[in-house]
Amino acid sequence: MSAPRAHLETLPRGLQVALALGLLALLGFPLAGSDFYVQMVARMMILAIFAMSLDLLQGVTGLVSLGHAAYFGLAGYALAFVTPGGEPVSLWWTLPAAVGASALAALVIGFLVVRTHGIYFIMVTMAFAQMLFYLFFDNKVLGGSDGLYINFRPDAAVAGWLPFDLENKLVFYYFTLFFLVAVYTFLRRLLWSPFGRALVGIRINEHRMRAMGFGTFGYKLGAFTLAGALAGLAGYLWGVQSGYVNPELMGFHMSAHALMMVIPGGMGNFAGAIVGAFTFELLLDLFKDLPAVGGFDLGKHWQLSMGLFIVAVIVFAPRGLLGLAQRSAPASAETPPGEPP
């Protein structure tokens, strides 16, 4: 049998070119797409940021969380709380505040959960997310099951000058694209940094990491907090786009949604998370439009088609869709000193 293989970390040249072309397509898309599709792609980009934040935990550090949506939803709620009913708030402090709120929640919860391993980690992350879900679901003060409206998009004005207006859908699209590229670039750098290498080491062999002197608790807590903060960034953008938050954003389904974007895409390199997010959302759109076949409404039961797709990917491409790209590249046991993306 072949020796165990690492996640795909160094992206083959062809994949890098494909990603660059993808970026060009995203840059030009609003020229071709209708308003509806521009908003849909913006939503995909937001979910791609969310998926990348989970990939930092799951693909890189090996911490499988089933409660990652908690930090996504919290930032959206943070924006809803600070936005008054009759006027917009400034982007410049609400964005850091919302991201900070998610990071703080991740730091506190992470302090308790990163001591656990494997299945226990999965269970406690889920338990904390469910606690937050019901806290918001059952409290009228926090919006209750109906959620909260965000009547105005945050205001980007600096001392009376407005560099861009988020009420404009096109502006919001490029605003989101900027963050997609920024988060991807940041995480790719992080992957090859001393901190990132330590996280990879923890995923592969935490025991040996400790024997070599790494305080793995601190590293895992750092990763958990950072992943929470980035999920918060995505949640903030979600709140801005939809103008509405509800407890579902931090619910179990949302956490599972993120997992189902990361796993089929290919873990541990962030590009897979983006590919996974776009694929998942496109298929979702496709499957929901499927016609009824002999009295069975395929569109309504889109989960069936999606489930088959996920199973197919896991069977035929166990390393994710991006793993397929590597299979066609010359198989090499070597890990070349990593190329930046």
Binding site: A6, W192, S193, P194, F195, G201, N205, R210, A211, M212
Partner: protein, 257 residues
């Protein structure tokens, strides 16, 4: 580098007293006293199940002791977690190869070297761009004789190379006290000779504990010998003396192997 003529108290880098570990009703290690001195190799031998590996786990912090004390570099480290003991200057290798199989040989050693780096928490600088870490990893790789295999994926390296890698990773943290748990396990004669030479080269400046079944290697390397049977120390002293101990001959050397 000074060669000490005698091992006085100041040269004792690790000292265990009354070290004990129970697993349920089983006393895997009972009341073990052990000193590791600079420039000396202390071999621990005994039949399978004697508690040698458990003793190593206790000293390295992989397992907390049920009783006794461990003094490392003048500091009481009893009950410390493994990462703190490692940072206090102790390095260990594992009997069962314990490496980062999907990473290259170089990345394994570099990661070990990084554990002492003040840059270890940096998020944006490149890990392979840190000169001090690279140099430390390079030294360890060279000592273990693995320079030509740096690009090989660790999991695909030969068994002997993986054993060398075990040692290289341990050396990359620059420990003063080195615990080697059966470094020759499963090695061919030529490979074993290479490792024996390596261990002799590592002796100056370090205190080493060697758990090993290969008696030729043990008598070639050890300055001091402790024999364990059923978790207990039945003899300790210079190899020449221990070899002739009737208890040892009865319990171990004569009976086993």
């Amino acid at each position: 580098m000074t060669m000490s003529l005698s091992s006085d108290a100041s040269d004792i880098l690790l000292s265990a007293r009354g070290l004990t570990r129970h697993f349920g009703g089983l006393a895997a290690v009972q009341q073990i006293d052990l000193d590791l001195s600079r420039d000396r190799i202390h071999a621990v031998i005994g039949p399978n199940g004697a508690g040698k590996s458990t003793l190593t786990h206790l000293l390295s912090g992989d397992l907390p002791p049920s009783g006794g004390r461990i003094i490392l570099g003048g500091q009481d480290v009893t009950g410390w977690p493994a990462e703190r003991i490692s940072r206090q200057g102790l390095g260990r290798s594992y009997q069962k190869t314990n490496i980062f199989a999907p990473l290259s040989v170089w990345d394994n050693v570099r990661l070990a070297a990084q554990s002492r780096s003040p840059q270890a928490w940096r998020w944006l600088s490149r890990a392979d761009g840190c000169t001090a870490v690279n140099e430390r990893a390079e030294r360890a790789l060279e000592l273990a004789g693995l320079q030509s295999r740096r690009r090989t994926m660790a999991g695909a390296a030969s068994h002997g190379e993986q054993r060398q890698l075990e040692i290289a990773m341990t050396l990359a943290t620059e420990p003063q006290v080195l615990l080697l748990d059966e470094p020759l396990a499963g090695m061919g004669v030529a490979e074993a000779e290479r490792i024996v030479e390596l261990l002799l080269r590592l002796k100056p400046g370090r205190a080493m504990m060697l758990v090993e079944h290969d008696m030729d290697a043990v008598f070639a390397l050890a300055d001091q010998l402790t024999v364990m049977v059923n978790g207990q120390r039945i003899a300790s002293g210079s190899p020449a003396v221990v070899r002739t101990d009737p208890l040892v001959q009865a319990a171990y050397l004569g009976a086993d192997e």
